[in-house]
């Protein structure tokens, strides 16, 4: 089977859908990328076509037929029924479905590392879990009925990263990490870059069946907290946890039921099957958490950079179709180029800044150095940057 070259992304506006499109755009072998969603995409895209529709069978079929789509990537479990129905179109030869570790649930009697064949120990306890199980069942039926189509199911661990808005990440972003008294669950995450990398890997290669997508290494929550440099506080009682969580909700923090179970029993997954197909993870769980700490500390500095992109249909259409456009628009990853307003950064006093520098990677250091040089050029800061750069180069 030749590699897929015309791709439909269902859920383009989800963090991974957009990032996946960005990755696939760089691949010259991929001829067409079409994305559907109900919201505007949050990623700046060059040649991806965005169609704003409700995911609905007949419309998907029309899009698939018109564009001659041969691979469908789906990131939304609630739409499984419509997606599966649309994938029976003859051109479609591949379906990649992003599921999650919620499939396995959390329980005391769980195996320490879930392999893909294992089922959950307890029946699902929440609507989200039931929906996911239902979606996987539909996908599985579709795969058995269509042996000529390659169907991949990726079960993602909780993601962490800059674009992620998932329950575990919000929990880890609190100044104090709430835990259940007397429990220190094991947790395994996947960095957002790896999540997108795994999706791209599954889109480019033919992986049939189910694969766990989780970084190497399983940390205890207490370990993760200390990596983040935050105290873990057992604010939730072991009995009546749900009632306590309801109280927390009044304070403005919402802990979903699944996360409560995860805070009690934790979960680990066996990621070896996916690694055996040739995917190499960029980050281990520990590194992903360390990366999250860097992100959490830098967020106040880079906040101004976040408001970089807003989808505007007229502009996008002009850029794609107007004969006056001479070259592709410049889409560089960092919006904070020279001249960008960074009040938060410039207001930071040198001591605070130097504290933060040691957690930057070499690229960021270089960028920061050129920025500092062209703006305030404080000698203390520049010296600290140079020291760190020298140390990085030596390593």
């Amino acid at each position: 089977m030749p590699a897929a070259s015309r791709i439909l992304i269902v859920g383009l506006s989800s963090p991974w859908g957009g990032a996946l499109a960005q990755v696939l755009e760089r691949d010259a072998e991929i001829d067409a990328i079409v994305g559907v969603d109900t919201l505007d995409p949050r990623h700046e895209l060059q040649r991806t076509e965005f169609v704003r529709v409700d995911v609905e069978q007949a419309r998907l079929r029309r899009i698939i037929n018109a564009a001659g789509i041969d691979a469908v990537v789906a990131t939304r479990p609630d739409q499984a029924r419509e997606i599966v129905a649309a994938c029976t179109e003859p051109t479609v030869r591949k379906l990649v479905f992003a599921s999650s570790a919620l499939y396995y649930g959390c329980d005391a009697d769980d195996p320490a590392f879930f392999t893909e064949e294992l089922a959950r120990t307890r029946p699902p306890g929440s609507a989200r879990e039931r929906e996911l199980l239902d979606a996987e069942r539909r996908i599985d039926e579709f795969a058995t009925r269509n042996p000529d189509r390659a169907v991949t199911v990726l079960r993602f661990a909780d993601a962490v990263g800059t674009a992620v808005r998932e329950p575990l990440q919000s929990l880890l972003s609190l100044p104090v990490i709430p835990t259940i008294l007397g429990f220190d669950p094991r947790c395994q995450v996947i960095h957002e870059d790896d999540a997108v990398g795994v999706l791209a890997h599954a889109t480019r290669n033919e992986l049939r069946g189910i694969y766990n997508a989780a970084a190497d290494g399983v940390l205890a929550l207490s370990e993760a907290a200390s990596l983040l440099g935050k105290p873990a506080l057992p604010v939730l009682p072991p009995w009546g946890t749900i009632a306590a969580a309801v109280q927390l909700r009044r304070l403005g923090f919402r802990i979903p039921v699944e996360l409560l179970r995860q805070l009690r029993f934790g979960r680990g997954m066996d990621n070896r099957r996916l690694k055996a197909t040739g995917y190499q993870y960029r980050y281990t769980t520990r590194e992903a958490i360390v990366k999250l700490r860097v992100h959490q500390r830098l967020r106040p500095l880079l906040r101004s950079g976040d408001a970089g992109y807003r989808y505007e249909r007229e502009v996008e259409e002009f850029l794609r179709w107007s004969p006056s456009v001479q070259s592709a628009p410049n889409r560089s990853g960092d919006h904070g180029g020279d001249g960008a307003e960074r009040p938060a950064y410039d207001d930071l006093n040198p001591d605070e800044l130097i504290e933060l520098i040691s957690s930057l990677d070499i690229d960021a250091l270089r960028r920061l150095r050129s920025y500092e040089l062209s703006h305030r050029a404080r000698t203390t800061v520049l010296e600290a940057l140079d020291r760190n750069l020298a140390r990085m180069n030596a390593e």
């Binding site: 005391a108 320490a112 590392f113 064949e117 089922a119 008294l181 007397g182 094991r186």
Partner: protein, 290 residues
């Protein structure tokens, strides 16, 4: 409240195990052991959640005291534990607090030419209890899920120690001591055959007197959801005898699916441990002085 029938529990355990067995991952053609992640240098816990620090602290204080002064452990045949590769150690009876498990692990850790860590396999409702469950995991307790055993024995080639009589055995009355119950954990033996690692039977003397089950407190026990109430361990003299391992490497890859064979082997191993336990009992003069 009617007393719970131990045989009934045994049947339930069997049912659960059959369920678990059905879920066993199929053997993968590609050897996934190469993909096993290593432990990063600055981690304080293993991926299992086991903490070197807590384990070492326990070992230096509690276990050391129990081993040398309280139970005055004597060891025979420790060379029967293989120096490398995975192996399943099976012993008679676990107390509520598996002090005998810790003693066997310590025997391998001190008396063996190549001291190796032993992973204690034990299913226990204590895992759900706040505080206790967390500590047990950190002290290295692994629950007896077939997937866990396979990962330990086959993938990590580690030593695992299990008590195949199951939790029922922890509350057999004192007069039934050293009469081994039917092995509820047939899946343990099955996992070892599947992983093609040797099975080392271990006969332990002393453990069954050190923690007699307090039968009359059944209601309290059920309230606390424990297999038996933990009493303070009595200072019985311990004697641990490691027996000749049963090799499973040349049985073939599919031997573990043969139920009859697995049961025969399980029964043989039980008989072997029983025989050795009785011999040890016969040769001792005193429960307390050996």
């Amino acid at each position: 409240v009617a007393e719970h029938d131990p045989d009934d529990t045994g049947a339930t355990v069997e049912l659960v195990l059959a369920d678990l067995r059905a879920q066993l991952p199929a053997a993968d053609p590609a050897d996934l052991r190469a993909q096993l992640p290593g432990l990063e240098a600055d981690r304080r816990l293993t991926d299992w959640g086991r903490s070197e620090r807590i384990e070492r602290a326990l070992d230096r204080t509690v276990y050391d005291f129990l081993y040398h002064y309280w139970f005055r452990v004597e060891v025979e045949g420790v060379e029967n534990v293989p120096s490398e590769g995975g192996a399943l150690l099976i012993a008679n009876r676990a107390g509520t607090i598996p002090s005998d498990g810790a003693m066997i692990a310590k025997a391998v850790g001190t008396k063996h030419r190549h001291p190796r860590p032993v992973h204690l396999i034990s299913g226990s409702n204590l895992k759900r209890a706040p505080g206790v469950g967390m500590l047990l995991t950190k002290a290295g307790l692994v629950s007896p899920h077939p997937a866990n055993l396979h990962r330990l024995l086959f993938d990590e080639q580690a030593l695992a120690l299990a008590f195949p009589e199951g939790p029922v055995a922890a509350r057999k009355p004192l007069r039934e001591r050293y009469r081994l119950r039917r092995f509820a954990g047939a899946s343990l033996i099955e996992s070892a055959i599947r992983a093609q690692v040797p099975i080392v039977p271990v006969a332990v003397l002393g453990a069954e007197e050190s923690q007699p089950a307090l039968g009359r407190l059944g209601r309290l026990r059920r309230l606390a959801r424990l297999p038996a109430l933990p009493g303070p361990p009595l200072p019985a003299k311990f004697r641990i005898r490691f027996l000749e391992p049963a090799r499973t490497a040349d049985l073939g890859e599919r031997a573990w699916e043969d139920r009859k064979f697995v049961q025969t082997l399980t029964e043989d191993l039980r008989a072997l441990i029983q025989e050795n336990v009785l011999e040890l009992v016969a040769n001792r003069r005193s429960v307390w002085f050996g």
